[in-house]
Assembly symmetry: C3
Homo-oligomer: 151 residues x 3
């Protein structure tokens, strides 16, 4: 990550009575890790607004990258990012104006960053959705399921 000029943010605390991660053994020293939805944020500030009428595609893409950093920060805090075996599933929601259909382009910000940082292990299946409303009107929310070594 240092080579990319990136640093993980401190893991965000849940905004409510839930956990940021849950780790479940699936045998052979490996576990599934479920990661709660990470909102686009810088520090404590949620970055809000709808794409494309309030927030540009370029800026929304940057915000998707911030969500990806948030996901990796949570995995790091729970299990250590170096124990990641593979990302299994990424659920990506983009706060979208009516008729906006470029969610894949925006979520590529996150997908590309997972692969840049984690290599082949960062590759993942993806579900890209345009949301009508998100918590605190965040521009992007990304949740994930991954596999980590815990043995």
């Amino acid at each position: 990550m240092r080579e990319l000029g990136l640093a993980l943010p401190p893991p965000a605390r849940p905004v409510a009575s839930y956990l940021q991660t849950r780790v479940t053994s699936i045998g052979d020293g490996r576990s599934l890790i479920y990661v709660a939805g990470q909102l686009s944020r810088e520090g404590d500030q949620v970055l809000s607004g709808r794409c494309q009428d309030q927030v540009s595609v370029e800026e929304a893409t940057r915000r998707a990258e911030l969500c990806a950093l948030g996901v990796m920060s949570q995995i790091d805090a729970a299990a250590g990012l170096d124990t990641l075996v593979e990302m299994s599933q990424v659920l990506g929601f983009v706060l979208s104006a009516e008729g906006f259909g470029d969610q894949p382009k925006i979520l590529n910000g996150a997908s590309d960053l997972f692969v840049e940082v984690l290599g082949a292990a960062g590759k993942h299946t993806r579900v890209a959705i345009g949301a009508h409303a998100l918590p605190f009107s965040a521009t992007v929310e990304i949740a994930a399921v991954a596999v980590v070594r815990t043995g």
Copy 2:
């Protein structure tokens, strides 16, 4: 649950050709249980309407609690609620007016109830989304993945 003055509703039947639960062994006498989306309902009546212009935050929160009861009812019917090891992931969708961003507050109704009834095992990761449309215009829909003992 009796201490809380609560009772599980009878498990809702699917409104279509699908299952309410699927149980998959992950070894060590434990299984993942996938629970289908549970709509806000009382008896056979779906509680519909959008938050916050048609349904208040307070009432929507109560409806999220009903969804949580529905999820627990399905787990109980499939595996016995007392076999629950942990809730892994809760997917929560709130039918939302444009610009509404208090989905976390509403879904806390469900999150808090899981923890009240199930203790530490009820803690879970959460994905909170504002939906534009839901089946039968239900106010809340909640699906889950959990771990149960089956050995």
Copy 3:
């Protein structure tokens, strides 16, 4: 499938930097397979438009069937459709006009097809959501988690 007069389409390539499937061993010669969101499409053409003001319920149902074929095509390419033990979870999103609540009817197109082709193994839990916006304004998007034999 031949008896049903159906053929699997060639598996769609991802529209971005992600995988269509991820396979993770859960012991006993079985694996979870995560399948990325499959858009309603014919060949390279995404079938777009919102239900029910731009696309009829009947046509949207047909498009949900195409998504189900897409999901099965991905499982077939990754692991062989004959290794499928069970569908665990289907996430279905229908591009919906405001107030439209018949997502279950539309997604039954997919649910019924899974069961017709795969028998009891095709039964699944389902999360049915009405989306405000989807990639390329696709009418339907369906993702899935399933269990396959890999031993």
